[in-house]
């Protein structure tokens, strides 16, 4: 079931976008999904101040986007299929169990969906979780602005 939906989601997404082997596109509901997922993955690391927090989420979404654009085209297509799936309202409701639109979803709802996918019976959804985990946490901690919070001094200044 999930495999079919994922294939359909990706197929639909590619039909409504450009042809094969094209660079990843993050728009519309796909971007809204990532914007909802970032705060759940980064809870405890994001700043508390609402304005700073919103800025940090937006910057992380953009960093994830740039990271994806650095992947091979075959991998970009896989990630495109994942976001195509997340962007489909039926998949969001049935597979992720998130009823409201991504822009309305609460952080605890999103966290529950991520936990569910993390140990899901379907390998496809587990790998989707791991891709989101690695993309978002990698994007956050690759940013020198977030190193002080974890006590990392960064590389030696004189050579970097």
């Amino acid at each position: 079931m999930a495999a079919l939906v994922l294939a359909a989601g990706g197929g639909l997404y590619r039909m409504t976008h450009t042809g094969q082997a094209q660079p990843f596109v993050l728009d519309g509901e796909a971007r809204a999904a990532l914007r909802a997922i970032v705060p759940a993955l980064l809870a405890g690391a994001l700043p508390a101040d609402p304005q700073q927090r919103a800025q940090a989420v937006a910057a992380t979404v953009e960093r994830v986007h740039q990271t994806i654009l650095g992947l091979p085209l075959a991998t970009q297509k896989e990630v495109q299929d994942l976001f195509g799936l997340l962007a489909l309202p039926p998949a969001r409701r049935l597979l992720a169990g998130v009823t409201p639109a991504w822009s309305e979803a609460r952080e605890d709802e999103v966290a529950a969906f991520l936990q569910d996918w993390r140990s899901h019976g379907l390998g496809l959804l587990r790998t989707a979780y791991q891709a989101l985990h690695d993309l978002v946490l990698g994007a956050w901690y690759s940013d020198p602005a977030h190193w002080a919070a974890i006590g990392y001094p960064g590389p030696p200044e004189a050579l970097s």
Binding site: G70, L71, A74, R126, T127, S142, H146, I150, L159
Partner: protein
Amino acid sequence: MSSPIPDPIQAGLARGWKVIDGAAQEHDLALAADVVVVGSGAGGGVTAEILALAGLTVILVEEGALKSSRDFKMREAEAYPALYQESAARKTLDKGINILQGRTVGGSTTVNWTSSFRTPPETLAFWRDHYALGGYTPEALAPWFARMEGRLHIADWPTPPNENNELLRRGAQKLGIPTGLIRRNVNGCWNLGYCGMGCPTNAKQSMLVSTIPSALDHGATLLTRARAERFLIDGERVQALDCTLLGANGIEASGRRASLKARHWVLAGGAINSPALLLRSNAPDPSGLLGKRTFLHPTLISAAVFPQRVDGYAGAPQTVYSDHFLHTQPIDGPLGYKLEAPPLHPVLLATTMAGFGSAHAETMRQFPHLQGMLALLRDGFHEDARGGRVQLNADGSPVLDYPLNDPVWDGARRALLTMAEIQFAAGAHSVQVAHESAPRYASWRAARQGIAALPYRLHAVRVASAHVMGGCMMSGDANGVTDPDGRYHGLRNLSVHDGSLFPTAIGANPQLSIYGIVARLASSLAAALSGQAAPAAGAA
């Protein structure tokens, strides 16, 4: 600010090296040489130097870009996309294993952690017994290892281990487990700890700063950002190599191509890309083993929190090891494992640690107090640990199908138990193994019960690899993709000179095995092609 370190690559370019950047070409290219070497890592670099010194014309083809010390800024955000295959996120087919492989001039040697071991004698004995490789004795290989050790300054590392490695030594010692010190291929190392992002001081004696500059000084040509697409084969001979030139981002094709011609071809693209090129080329495969028996040293990871600072990002990344658990059972019995420590950097750590949200953030805040440990499972010896198989995606790109099965999971459980026990013995307050279901254990007692009871299955356990081997296995009988000299069965003018030759995993970090074995193969090849004995590499 600009680096105060002299850059040997920039200096070489200034004195006229023949380096062709595929991304800068406005027209298709046609090039010819005595020998085309595909891949510029450990196998390709050693081969290119030996052939060039023998007076042969050489073209070295590399899919990655030519980066050098002035580019190596010790930042993961830049280094992984620029220097690694698939931004350091290459995965096996079922995404059960994450694979670290270089994709830049120098290949994985530009980004490896400098650990240097000769091929273990018991591995060579297994090859002689099972794969008719009678010439692969420690005695026969010793002069080749010695030669490459001299060439690459491989020597004992005199500086005390950093705390991350010292804790492996200390914990093991408490438990009566012997450890050793790792030799490194460095010359004038600053002990910074950023080997994995390209050496910013040119101390690491990678192919980038050793054999490749030497080959270029002797007239070789380097073609970068060129993906070797397929060999054009006529009967038993490779006639040409068709390359796709990549755009400046190294991802998309630029629309230009390069057509290469040579008398002889050396394939050294690494153990995933070498078999893949042959598969794309519909190369003959009389043994039926092309792309099969691909090994990874599937690697388990455990992190521990110590009361003192560990600063796992600082200092030579790997200096202590233990081979104890490679020898506690027969070589073809339950999988043995080598213990080492990994350098800890924010992205590598954040993506390796399971979970998310506040628990993950809390672990990350303990970064300076975290110690990391690795257990590398020795695959390829046990009857049911036959490794993986290289396949092609619809677009021709390679993917490794490596099913994780019971012998691997059994080894994973024992390895995680061992690492947690050592970390607690070294004084850890808590241990977090890289497993989706594992809680933070506060005592060895809790860890022993907990780790034994964890589920061992796909995606639950984090498994990584930085050592891809096999897929073009050599053998002294018909059951090999190549003969013991790396000559390809079915193609008279093709040799394989990289880690894909190995019929099993090595059971140690493979770089020196590749250097030594390939130095021998390349010297024989140079003599055969030039009609005279090859001069010693580095002598000129």
